[in-house]
């Protein structure tokens, strides 16, 4: 599954995307828990960037949503467009 990071989250993690393998469905918070185990950049990012938003295949969802391997998951702070 492709994971995209944006803005402050991307800056803290130090890259704009990851690919992970998901065998069955997983909840977004489970995916994040796994990412946080990778290294302290991820831990810092997910602990310090507050009020994160989630989108699966370009649709806003909440952290309880399940994702599949073919999905594109995006994680980002609240948007500030316009």
């Amino acid at each position: 599954m492709k994971i995209l990071y944006f803005a402050k989250l991307k800056q803290y993690i130090g890259k704009n995307s990851d690919f992970i393998e998901i065998k069955d469905n997983k909840r977004i918070y489970e995916v994040i828990d796994e990412l946080k185990k990778r290294n302290k950049n991820y831990r810092k990012a997910f602990n310090e960037v507050t009020n994160l938003q989630y989108a699966v295949n370009c649709e806003y969802v909440n952290i309880e949503e399940t994702v599949k391997d073919k999905d594109e998951l995006a994680i980002f702070p609240p948007v500030t467009g316009g």
């Binding site: 944006f6 803005a7 991307k10 989108a55 370009c58 980002f76 609240p78 500030t80 467009g81 316009g82």
Partner: protein, 149 residues
């Protein structure tokens, strides 16, 4: 009915002229231009940097426009939104809407700009002389977010 996300700066008057010509029979043309202000919280801004999730931005924008067009009868619109580095006094966002009657144009453009401020997957970072800061969503915009959900 066009949407442009672009790095390049643009002149509102040129966009306006062209849009007016193709909508010469409209009774009302309303435009909104959002510009980079020179300071924020008394800090002088060198430029702002806009990062975008383009695929989602386009998809979501098409959906909101589809909804708004059902709600308000308009004839045409143009949206130009810059990304990358934008300097103070430059335009970030232009929205123009043509309609037969002004009321529907006003409602369409205001709803659309409200949406753009709180929902489009763009993020702004302000660069100052010696440091930089990601912009936080404004309290007033959060309220719009809640009521528009």
């Amino acid at each position: 009915m066009k949407i442009f996300f672009q790095k390049e700066s643009f002149l509102v008057e040129e966009k306006f002229k062209k849009f007016s010509k193709t909508n010469s029979t409209a009774g009302s043309i309303i435009s909104f231009v959002g510009k980079v202000r020179p300071t924020n919280n008394k800090k002088s801004i060198t430029n702002i940097e806009i990062e975008i999730y383009e695929k989602m931005a386009l998809l979501q924008m098409k959906k909101i426009i589809f909804k708004l067009k059902k709600k308000y009868k308009i004839l045409d619109f143009l949206i130009v939104h810059r990304f990358g580095k934008v300097k103070p006094q430059e335009n970030i966002l232009l929205v123009i809407v043509a309609s037969e009657h002004r009321k529907e144009g006003f409602r369409f453009i205001e709803d659309l700009v409200d949406w753009l401020k709180v929902k489009i997957t763009f993020w702004k970072k302000e660069n100052y002389l010696n440091d930089s800061e990601w912009i936080e969503q404004k309290e007033s915009d959060k309220k719009i977010l809640i009521t528009s959900n």
